[in-house]
Amino acid sequence: MRTQDILASAGPQAQHIEALWWLMLVICAVVFIAVLTGVALALIRSPRGDPATPPDLSSLARPERSAAIVVVAAVAVCAALLIFLTIASFLTDRRLASLGPPALEVELTAHRWWWEVRYQDADPSRIFATANEMHIPVGKPVLVKLKADDVIHSFWVPNLAGKKDLIPGRDATLTLQADKPGNYRGQCAEFCGVQHAKMALLVIADPPEQYEAWAAAERKPALEPAGNEQERGRDIFVNGRCAMCHAIQGTSANAKKAPDLTHFASRETLAAGAVPNTIGHLAGWILDPHSIKPGVNMPANPLDPDDLHALLAYLGGLR
């Protein structure tokens, strides 16, 4: 499975776009080759002369009817092809907008430089949030509400759908569907600051029952710390600097300016896809985030080694 590839569509939206892309590529390639062939023929067939040869002005005396016919025919073919491509593009847009009623609504808020993913529900107690990873059920249309917190970002998961901008103060929507299970990498597609390149979003399409199991686990509050070290880690988190920006459901840490860490250990990456979520990377990220992602809003946290280990043990247990 090629990830982050528009030519490896994994859902109906991406398929429509891919079909249009191939149609345009083939038609444009044929036209391009035809034009180059015409130019080459003209070059080969043109009369040769030396500086002494008088200029050939015969076409002034008798107009070239055959050349006029070729030019008119070429213009007509070009116009017809352009109108055809316009209609094809219009029909693709229509098909993109007709995916059917969504089975799930997800609010996706872009921040510098991470993605906040909030799963909506009619029952407020079933709403939950995660970050930088969006799980969706296979075969069901998902309505994604796109928002931005600070500057303009753009949502782009090429295997599943086209681009759409996230603009502060505006709500945009996009419906997508994955037909095959898999991990589809997305990327912010609008320059949004120094760490624009390290702003990845992983869309994970699971079979519906697996998705439901994941969502049920995400709705639960964070696991209680097991053992003294994890307990110390939680105290450091809740009473220290972490709780100024991060939230862990089930504790008093409830800030909304950085990713929700309730089920942090179940995620695959750190810092919006910058590094894998392993204990070594996590330690480096906490101590010196700017060596991984210079300019990120996460500050450096010079912790004592014992405190750092306790914090790592606690965060590592948040499955």
């Binding site: 709780a243 100024m244 700017h290 060596s291 210079p294 450096a300």
Partner: protein, 151 residues
């Protein structure tokens, strides 16, 4: 011709000084903070981070956008505990009587110094070409970059 080239080189030279964004601040600089603070007050990035943190950590909850509410105004010339950087730093980190909470242990030193620079810019104490020129929210007053120094 030679004069024109020289002039062109001079103009190009003016474009060379690009403001540095210092992301990794060594602990030695946050402890002996005078140079760090002086640099922050000239640095648009540090000031704008200070402004962001001012909103994030809900300083506006009491001080509003500097006009004051539950807490005192920060954009006027009245300073209960002094307007130099160390005094403002102490106000933020250690708190003050009558409601200002202490943020020591909650804030990193370099974030606190960014806040100090921004707080001073509210009453015109930062360089005008570095102070923030816009707001994320509706705000009718003049931006920090337009304010004159108030004592």
């Amino acid at each position: 011709m030679r004069g024109a080239l020289l002039l062109l080189a001079l103009v190009a030279l003016a474009g060379c000084e690009r403001e540095q964004r210092q992301f990794q601040i060594p602990a030695t600089q946050t402890q002996f903070a005078k140079p760090l603070h002086a640099a922050n007050e000239r640095n648009a990035f540090a000031l704008s981070q200070g402004k962001t943190l001012f909103q994030w950590f809900n300083c506006t909850g009491c001080h509003a956008n500097g006009g004051g509410g539950i807490g005192p105004a920060l954009m006027d010339d009245q300073w209960r505990y002094g307007n130099n950087a160390e005094q403002i730093y102490a106000s933020i980190m250690e708190g003050r009587p009558n409601g200002m909470p202490a943020f020591r242990g909650r804030l990193n030193e370099d974030q606190a110094w960014q806040l100090v620079a921004y707080v001073r810019s509210m009453s015109g104490w930062a360089r005008k070409d570095a102070a923030p020129g816009r707001n994320d929210s509706l705000y009718p007053g003049e931006p920090e970059s337009m304010r004159d120094k108030r004592n």
